[in-house]
């Protein structure tokens, strides 16, 4: 049986309205009668999930409003599939569905997994309180968990690692981590790793020569050392061994000979000499003379390396040990997480998968619950997620996978496009979206011309690549192409020249707003270079490469916070003075400090400034606050938000403050994971070590600068493609996941294994590198890289709405031409007469060569004006607490204490005297009885109620029912005799707002409504000897509050205030 018969794969090429399709697929399904709670949809990011939910709700509500059904606008390709019910749905149902949307399982893979695991925690044998370790903590926790394993292995691994030129002691641990991650993402078990080691070494041997028996290292060393005096002689005498004069001052010679001397003399025991040290003993760039002097050992090394037994041993041992260590680390990591009750994102997926695969109860429950599964960005799922989706898809009625194999660009994060292709090829129901709702015709021409042939080379049909204008956009035939050559030799200069191009573009096309332009680069570093170059020209870029901590507002806030934490921190104090214009000493503070004969006094004066004393004062309150609250308070005390308005880019700066709070949250997360404490000092420390970067800039005047990877899913009118000269640079070495055997849908991850080829030569140029050049692994890697690069370029080139701009050093971008078709793209001509030739197609373009000197004087973009209240802020009012609790009111004014409190009525003998510590419960029981309308019951009824009450309050052993009944009877009699016929209200709620807007809610025990006003009665269970004193102390305030409240609320006064003391059998009166 084809298990994927219920799956529809929608391939959505770039800009074809994927989200729209996704929304419709779900909304239609709901409109067709599937309850919202039966929908599960996963997205790649949280933001996408939120957007999806919102769009679905909008669609449903729009439909119910208009009574229309169907997706309306753009494309409706998937409708026929998803609507099981073709009748027009009931508008009310649509509205209800929109309101129920929060019950559907829509979120990122992780959030959905985590929700399932929480709901089915007990089925899964997990703690229901399990939370995933935050992303930022994972490294630290892995290190902590595996520390002892790593320590055990380090003795064996470290010497080899050093010979492998791993300078940092923990470099090899990074490899171990990489293998562990790959294993977990591909469901490999610790015991599977030994086989991976074996296969890795077997493969590696194919690039080595047969293992020899002779270890020539001592001879190499001797050879190098023996030649050294010869070199020294040349330096000393200025003549070569043949007696010819040598220019020892010549640059190459003068630079390299000391290096050679140092490198050789610092070689000690051969076991301590790294393979790279041998290779690089004599720099490759050294003059011929130097090379000749050392020719013998250099040649010996080159010839012997690949058969050197020590080299063989090192590689083999290293591979074996790293895998063995990784296997143990995996186990240690599991153990650690188990004892500490932790799990990470991968665990979430693994555990969810386990549930789906093995837990019948879950499978049943899930298939009862979820009918429709949608997976967005299918091409970006990891192998583990892929297996999860396959399994889940089998449990639901229908599954829709949406994605674009051409946009799979996360291989570096462990996705495997080939695996994906294998799965997708098993899906029989497919739809293709190829109408571009984004770009105009001209940019489409370029991307079609480029990618139809490129993807054809990997077997993709023209139909699956070509983007067309839909009929509704048939008139969008416009658009522009440009090609910029920047001839500068150095990378940074070339990137800087691109900024010049941007400035020129803004000049040439004045209708463009900076935010409509995006510059895309391969690396973050390149993006930063472009952003820096732009800002040097006065053009702001989105990318903010400066560290969060170095932005002025964060410096100021941090310094203030540090000063709160420790007023003796005079550096922090000085920073506050230096950065805050509101400090009295701010102007020329350095001059003032330096000129001060007694600096300590000056510092003390600074600290006495109101700005600083406010901070010092905060220290006293900090004990009750969290670091975040102290931070918020500091921000407010120093008036930072208002200050920011006077500075550049205030919006960005406010976001930076918010980012500080995010850092604090990360700090708490870290503490929480390990149940460690967190403090203000710790938070400051964490902040100072933070590597967070400042927030991105935003606004109309900001040019977007980012990497191709980050550009995914976004679009701009103008897109400038940078880094197009970078050629595919694959290496055979490193960690990679391989798979062999035929793909099996039932076991999609079978046959997967991890290959690890260590590289002892960080700078290439070794005989090993030469040998690896022709290896299958390298070829395969190159192909893989090429395909990756092609997909990434596809993502980049399909971002533009109106204009695509290509850049290169010369007139043909080397990188684009290295994707599989030589000479794919080049350009010629000049300015408006230019032409971009793609695979033989000529496309008119604006062609320009830029040089750094073209930089315009300065481009100033306007930023928005900031405003503040025109009127000075009023003085802070002093306000009373918002709420009054009547029982907590102590006597409010002096007259109360003059109140007369006296015995008013005697109801009978005391029913109880003195209570034990459970007296409060007895009091509650009595109170409970008196709170009912017991008088309406017959004796049996009263008895029943009283018994129940004693039971509930568990005081049957202390008092008997008679007590309650007697207390009730006496009191009832009393009321009847004193206030015959007057309405009696028990447990009366009252709410009241005072003249000063204080608010009170409470229950009055008893009210008697007389024509002239109320009799206010409170029951007190006090059993002691001095009721008057007790009442004075405990109840006066409460009664007074009620009196005022009653008067205020009803306009009727309280004419009598009584305290009923059932235990004592008395009624007291307050006058």
């Amino acid at each position: 049986m084809n298990t994927l018969s219920n799956v529809l794969m929608i391939s959505a090429s770039a800009g074809t309205g994927k989200t729209h399709a996704l929304t419709n697929v779900i909304a239609d399904r709901i409109a067709g009668g599937t309850p919202a709670a039966a929908i599960m949809a996963t997205t790649f990011t949280k933001k996408a999930a939120g957007e999806l939910k919102e769009r679905i709700a909008l669609r449903l509500l729009d439909d119910q409003g208009s009574g229309a059904h169907g997706s309306g606008a753009q494309n409706s390709s998937e409708q026929g599939f998803s609507s099981d019910n073709s009748s027009v749905p009931d508008p009310l149902k649509l509205k209800e569905a929109a309101q129920q949307l929060s019950t559907s399982l829509i979120g990122t893979v992780n959030s959905v997994c985590s929700r399932l695991l929480t709901e089915y925690a007990i089925d899964a044998g997990l703690s229901p309180a399990l939370e995933a370790i935050a992303e930022g903590e994972q490294d630290g926790i892995f290190r902590l968990a595996t520390d002892e394993v790593l320590a055990d292995y380090s003795e064996q691994i470290l010497p080899i690692a050093r010979r492998m030129s791993m300078v940092e002691d923990d470099a090899w641990m990074v490899l171990v981590r990489g293998i562990c991650d790959a294993a977990r993402n591909n469901l490999l078990q610790p015991q599977d790793l030994a086989a991976c080691a074996k296969r890795s070494w077997q493969g590696y041997q194919s690039v080595l020569e047969e293992r020899g028996t002779y270890d020539g290292r001592q001879a190499w060393l001797d050879g190098l050392r023996q030649a050294l005096p010869e070199l020294r002689a040349v330096v000393r005498d200025g003549v070569d061994p043949a007696g010819r004069p040598v220019n020892v001052a010549a640059k190459n010679f003068a630079e390299n000979w000391p290096k050679v001397v140092h490198r050789i003399t610092s070689m000690g025991d051969v076991e301590d000499v790294s393979w790279e040290q041998w290779r690089g003993a004599v720099p490759a760039a050294s003059s011929k003379l130097i090379k000749t002097i050392f020719e013998q050992p250099i040649t010996a090394f080159s010839e012997e390396l690949l058969s050197n037994p020590a080299f063989h041993d090192d590689i083999e041992q290293f591979i074996r040990l790293i895998y063995a260590c990784a296997a143990e680390c995996l186990e240690a990591f599991e153990r650690f997480k188990h004892t500490h009750g932790l799990m990470d994102f991968v665990d979430q997926e693994t555990l969810a998968l386990k549930l789906v695969r093995e837990n019948e109860a879950f499978r049943q429950s899930f298939s009862q619950r979820v009918q429709f599964l949608v997976v967005d960005e299918f091409q970006d799922t990891s192998p583990l997620q892929l297996e999860l989706f396959l399994q889940l898809s089998r449990l639901v009625d229908r599954a829709v996978w949406v994605g674009d194999p051409k946009q799979a660009i996360y291989e570096f994060r462990g996705t495997d496009p080939e695996l994906m292709d294998a799965v997708v090829s098993k899906v029989t129901q497919r739809e293709m979206l190829s109408s571009s709702w984004r770009s105009e015709q001209v940019p489409l021409d370029l991307s079609n011309a480029t990618f139809i042939p490129l993807f054809a080379a990997v077997g993709m049909s023209r139909e699956s690549v070509e983007l067309r204008l839909p009929d509704a956009r048939a008139d969008c035939t416009g658009g522009f192409l440009e090609a910029w050559s920047r001839t500068a030799g150095k990378d940074e200069e070339r990137l800087a020249t691109t900024a010049v191009g941007v400035a020129d573009l803004l000049r040439r096309r004045p209708e463009l707003v900076p935010k409509e332009i995006a510059v895309l680069t391969r690396t973050n570093k390149e993006a930063q270079a472009v952003a820096a170059a732009l800002s040097a020209l006065g053009i702001r870029a989105t990318l903010n490469s400066q560290p969060l901590l170095s932005s002025r507002e964060v410096q100021l806030a941090r310094a203030s916070l540090a000063f709160v934490a420790d007023a003796r921190d005079t550096i922090a104090l000085s920073e506050v003075v230096a950065l805050h214009p509101g400090h009295r000493a701010h102007e020329k503070w350095q001059q003032a400090l330096l000129a001060s004969p007694e600096p300590a006094e000056t510092l003390a004066q600074w600290a006495a400034d109101p700005l600083c004393t406010a901070l010092t004062e905060l220290n006293g309150r900090a004990i009750a606050s969290t670091p975040t609250e102290v931070f918020e308070e500091v921000v407010s005390l120093i008036g930072l938000p208002a200050l920011l308005k006077t500075w550049s880019a205030p919006e960005t700066r406010l976001r930076n403050l918010d980012a500080v709070r995010a850092e604090f949250n990360n700090y708490y997360e870290a503490a929480k994971a390990l149940k460690a404490p967190a403090t203000l000092r710790g938070a400051l420390q964490f902040l100072s070590e933070s590597e967070a970067v400042a927030s991105d800039n935003s606004g109309d005047d900001v040019v977007n600068v980012m990497t191709y990877h980050k550009a995914k899913g976004l679009e701009w009118p103008v897109v400038i493609m940078e880094s197009l000269d970078r050629e595919v640079g694959a290496r055979a070495f490193g960690v990679a996941v391989e798979s062999d055997g035929e793909f099996d849908l039932d076991e999609p991850l079978a046959g997967r294994w991890i290959r690890f080829w260590p590289s002892p030569f960080p700078y290439k140029g070794s005989p090993l590198d030469a040998a690896a050049k022709s290896s299958d692994v390298l070829m395969a890697n190159e192909d893989r890289e090429r395909r990756n690069a092609a997909r990434l370029m596809y993502v980049g080139m399909t971002r533009s709405i109106n204009t695509t701009i290509l850049t290169a050093k010369g007139s043909s971008p080397l990188g684009l031409n290295d994707l599989g078709i030589t000479g794919l793209i080049k350009w010629s001509g000049e300015k408006h007469d230019g032409v971009i030739t793609v695979n033989g197609n000529e496309l008119p373009a604006y062609v320009q060569t830029y040089v750094a000197e073209d930089a315009p004087e300065s481009v100033t973009t306007t930023s928005s004006i900031q405003y503040d209240d025109a009127a000075a802020a009023p003085l802070a009012g002093s306000y009373l607490p918002a709420r009054i609790k009547a029982s907590a009111q102590t006597t409010t004014n002096g007259t109360d204490t003059d109140a007369r409190i006296y015995e008013h009525a005697h109801l009978g003998d005391p029913l109880a005297t003195r209570g034990d510590e459970r007296w409060a419960s007895v009091g509650s029981a009595v109170h409970a009885y008196l709170g009912t309308e017991y008088t309406a019951l017959d004796r049996a009824g009263q008895l029943g109620v009283a018994k129940e009450i004693l039971d509930r309050w568990q005081v049957g052993d202390l008092i008997g029912v008679e007590l309650l009944l007697t207390a009730g009877d006496r009191f009832a009699e009393y009321l009847a005799s004193v206030y015959p016929g007057a309405p009696v209200l028990r447990e009366v709620p009252i709410s009241w707002r005072t003249g000063q807007n204080q608010y009170m809610e409470g229950w009055i025990d008893l009210l008697i409504e007389l024509p002239e006003g109320f009799v206010l009665i409170d029951h007190k269970s006090y059993p002691g000897e001095d009721p008057a004193k007790h009442i004075r102390k405990e109840n006066l305030g409460q009664m007074e509050t009620y009196r005022q409240a009653l008067l205020d609320v009803t306009g009727k006064p309280v004419v009598e205030t009584l305290i009923h003391l059932p235990a004592l059998g008395k009624v007291y009166k307050i006058d």
């Binding site: 709700a57 009750a624 004006i865």
Partner: protein, 904 residues
């Protein structure tokens, strides 16, 4: 009595403007309590904690290896019991009697039924009360309730509540269903702000602007002047908003977040970390520098100083600190040694097995200190109480692991709200969700809208729902509750005329999710001009802060205020040079090598440090990383040498090195003994052992006899400044001082850094100033410390040509011109020449500062270079001065001089 009853009214205020007698507004909690009072069936409240414990006991009675919940229960009994108890209560609250219904009940349902049958106590909770009501309503007790007005239609209540309402009706209570309102929806404005601060600024201004059109009406007169009816709905903490409100002279709302990270709630967890060995220096400094620390501030400061000098406990610096503490006023030796015992001398060691009694004994000190602190800070009483609870929990336990202890602590120390947060009286109606709005108001401001999320309810398997309903237990579906919340929100919105929703795009650096309530609210609006799409409708009602001001007038949702443009200020970098009056007092009192380096490299940094005495915080991080290891390695070599020289030996054995490392670690690098550091320690140990060994071996092989390690020296540097003779003591200590085979003094400086390249270059280029200085210090015969130097050395001129080297401990290599010390380098200049230039440089720098010229030299140099001028180095060379490298990398003043400033 008249009762208003609705699913979301439990936190709703009973009344707004007028107040009321004998009328009440309740949700189900309040209604249950009310009916219980009327029916005489109140009962003592039982803490949730107690119930979970009781349920845990029931589950334990059911547990077996095959039990469905067994695995979870073993992993986390508390949470498992809590989770199942919630499920049980959910069923009971809907009328379940505890019996297993027929059909195919799930594992969950089977377990709950089994647990119900266990004869162990389980205190009743709200759920049981609800269930009990139907029966209790049979009694003839008058209820005193005339009418129950429902907030939403009777049919929208869960079925058990419909039954209860039915009973009430039978008893004569009139049940009033809400009229379908014809009230028009309010005018909705969505303020979409970027951050909470931005949102707060506009929200506070809006509240301050009072009634519509009444610009800036909020005077100091207080709230009375403001428009009569404004409701503030608060779905997110108001810390930030409150600051803005205060700034506008308005009352604070005072809703704080719950958090476990309040300083006072961290005292116990911190203490419980620092009494265990190995010492955690980082946490100990945090403990000592808490805003209110149980360790007296002055004593804490001494200990912090010690930790800064030697990041460990029990070493020399630590002992010195204890000594100093003993001499503090009101302190004695005993108290000092108490501190030592607690934090160093007598730490708990997990693998020795620690009993609860031992821990409790340790906490006595803390209890005592807290008790005393509570007198001045009543707020700490809760901390003190927590400590008592914890002690009670652990006291009897025979064995307590750190993990267990941490678990216990986290159950004792729960999340709290800020005790200092104050809610101030205002004439606004305060609500936590719009569903609570029952009184008509003019304006509503909804703060923290994005956090007003739908209630999460437990999800039951469909088969369970069906079988339960066959026995009359009808569980409300999550869908119906979600819908109810939305419809009630929309309904409540019609009670106001003007609804301002405040949304932020990000919250604590995280993008916020949209709230589906917005679509529902807008969908209920009459369509306006921008077309039929809901998205357009929302967009039409959304404003961003920049759109609010026009012609200096701010207007938002019917209120306005006068504004003034803010003048932008360009913040310029501070000047790099200062011209003061001549300052004779700026002459150095003394110099060490590093001070000399600073002085030559940047006189501003030197003056700020030495003359202005700017200092970081006491608790500023104790050294870690390479600095810590450097200190450690020095001490290692020093102590080894002392041992060796006592035995007249030159080279230690590997065992000796190892032992010494073990001895010194707790004192100087206790961080390396903490969990998670063993791999690092192992590597370090390997490197140190082999390279320290190498060091002694090589030195000895080079014919150098080590005479002294950390050899202190003092020598006067004679300078002619402004024509005047000045003599500056140069002090310091030479890492390794010895004598070579030819009787020449030898100096070796030990370095620990990741790369050896720079030192090698320095030596090769003849710029090893530190070595030259030591050579100079040893060369001539001053009075004092160096007198025992070999006579041969004394004859030599300054600098001499005795062997000098850096030993790079991490790499195990020497950087030296001396062949015996692997000296491959040939120095461009001899040490004499170098020293001469250094003296010139010192003369120059000293005369600069003495004349009152203080310069951030690196900044001046870069500026000159950027303007096409010569480099600082070229300049120095031209003057024959030694060029002091910019000390910026390790400088603490980079934010003050402007180097690390942000002048954008």
């Amino acid at each position: 009595m008249r009762v208003e009853f609705g699913w979301f009214l439990d936190r709703a205020p009973w009344s707004f403007q007028s107040g009321g007698l004998n009328t009440v507004r309740v949700g189900r909690l309040g209604f249950v309590a009310l009916l219980q009072t009327r029916l005489g069936i109140t009962r003592p409240e039982v803490a949730h904690l107690v119930r979970v414990n009781q349920y845990t006991a029931r589950l334990r009675a059911l547990d077996s290896s095959s039990a469905w919940f067994s695995t979870s229960f073993a992993v986390d009994p508390w949470s498992t019991a809590q989770d199942l108890l919630y499920a049980r209560d959910d069923l009971v609250a809907n009328g379940w009697d505890g019996r297993l219904p027929a059909g195919h009940p799930s594992n969950l349902l089977q377990t709950l039924a089994a647990a119900e049958a266990v004869e162990l106590p389980l205190a009743p909770a709200l759920a049981d009360d609800v269930a009990g009501l139907t029966a209790a309503l049979e009694t003839p007790l008058p209820l005193g309730i005339s009418a129950v007005a429902l907030q939403h239609p009777r049919s929208s209540f869960p079925s058990i509540w419909q039954a209860i309402l039915g009973k009430l009706e039978v008893r004569g209570v009139s049940i009033v269903e809400p009229e379908p309102t014809a009230a028009p929806p309010p005018r909705i404005t969505v303020l979409h702000a970027e951050t909470e601060w931005e949102a707060a600024e506009h929200a506070a201004r809006w509240l301050g602007a009072g009634g519509s059109g009444n610009a800036g009406a909020a005077g100091t007169a207080g709230v009375d002047a403001m428009a009569a009816s404004t409701a503030v709905v608060v779905s997110h903490q108001t810390n930030v908003l409150d600051h803005y409100l205060s700034a506008h002279g308005l009352p604070r709302i005072g809703i704080g977040a719950r958090s476990r990270w309040r300083a006072q709630d961290q005292v116990i967890p911190l203490f419980m970390e620092v009494i265990w060995g190995p010492a955690n220096v980082q946490l100990l400094s945090e403990f000592l520098s808490l805003p209110v620390s149980p360790v007296r501030r002055d004593a804490g400061r001494e200990l912090l100083k010690a930790l800064k000098a030697e990041p460990g406990t029990g070493g020399e610096a630590w002992s010195a600190a204890l000594q100093a503490i003993a001499e503090l006023p009101d302190f004695d030796r005993e108290q000092a040694s108490e501190l030592d015992e607690l934090f160093s001398g007598n730490l708990l060691i997990e693998h020795h097995g620690v009993s609860g009694t031992q821990i409790a004994a340790k906490t006595e000190w803390l209890a005592k200190r807290l008790d005393r602190l509570v007198r001045h800070r009543p707020g700490l009483a809760s901390t003190y109480a927590q400590l008592q609870t914890l002690i009670a929990l652990i006291s009897g336990l025979p064995l307590v692991s750190r993990t267990d202890l941490r678990r216990m602590i986290s159950s004792v120390v729960a999340e709290t709200t800020n005790p200092l947060a104050t809610s101030e009286a205002s004439d606004w109606l305060r609500l936590e969700h719009l569903t609570e709005l029952m009184d008509p108001v003019d304006d509503v401001l909804w703060w923290g809208f994005q956090d007003a999320t739908a209630p999460r309810t437990r999800r039951w398997d469909r088969s369970d729902i069906e079988s339960l309903s066959s026995v009359g237990v009808h569980l409300p579906s999550p869908e119906s509750l979600a819908m109810l919340q939305i419809t009630q929100t929309v309904q409540a919105s019609t009670r106001c005329r003007n609804l301002l929703i405040v949304q932020t795009a990000q919250q604590e650096g995280e993008p916020t999710e949209n709230n589906p309530l917005l679509e529902a609210l807008v969908a209920a609006q009459p369509a306006t001009g921008s077309g039929p799409s809901l998205r357009a409708q929302i967009r039409e009602r959304t404003v961003t802060p920049v759109q609010l001001v026009q012609n200096n007038r701010w207007a938002l949702a019917g209120r306005s205020a006068r504004m003034a443009p803010v003048d932008p200020v360009r913040v310029a970098p501070p000047p790099p040079e200062f011209e003061l009056e001549p300052r004779a007092d700026f002459a150095p009192d003394a110099l060490s090598f590093s001070q000399l380096g600073n002085l030559l490299g940047c006189s501003l940094a030197w003056v700020l440090d030495k003359k202005m005495r700017l200092r970081p915080a006491d608790a500023d991080s104790a050294p870690s990383g390479n600095t810590m290891i450097g200190i450690f390695a020095h001490k290692l070599v020093e102590e080894l040498h002392h041992d060796l020289s006592a035995q007249l030996r030159a080279v230690p054995t590997p065992e000796e090195i190892d032992r010494k490392i073990d001895k010194l670690l707790p004192h100087l690098a206790s961080e390396l003994l903490l969990p998670g550091q063993s791999a690092r320690l192992k590597n370090l140990r390997a490197v140190l052992s082999s390279n320290v060994m190498k060091f002694f071996t090589w030195v000895s092989a080079a014919g150098i006899t080590i005479q002294d390690v950390e050899k202190p020296f003092e020598k006067f540097l004679e300078l002619t400044v402004d024509g005047k003779q000045m003599s500056v003591p140069v002090r310091g200590s030479i890492d390794v001082a010895g004598i070579d085979g030819e009787g020449r003094p030898a100096v070796i400086d030990l370095k620990w850094s990741n790369r050896d390249k720079y030192r090698v270059e320095e030596v090769r280029e003849g710029k090893a100033l530190q070595l030259a200085l030591y050579q100079w210090a040893l060369a001539e015969d001053p009075a004092g410390d160096v007198s025992e130097t070999a006579p041969a050395a004394r004859d030599r001129s300054a600098g001499g040509d005795g062997p000098a080297a850096y030993y790079l401990l991490k790499q195990g290599t020497f950087a030296s011109t001396h062949p015996g010390l692997g000296g491959s380098a040939t120095a461009a200049e001899g040490p004499d020449v170098l020293w001469d230039t250094a003296v010139k440089a010192a003369t120059f720098s000293v005369s600069e500062v003495v004349q009152g010229r203080v310069t951030a030299t690196p900044l001046v140099d870069t500026a000159r270079e950027a303007a096409g001028g010569e480099t600082g180095e070229a300049r120095a060379i031209a003057d024959g001065r030694f060029y002091g490298k910019p000390p910026c990398r390790f400088c603490r003043f980079s934010r003050l001089c402007g180097l690390a400033g942000d002048f954008s």
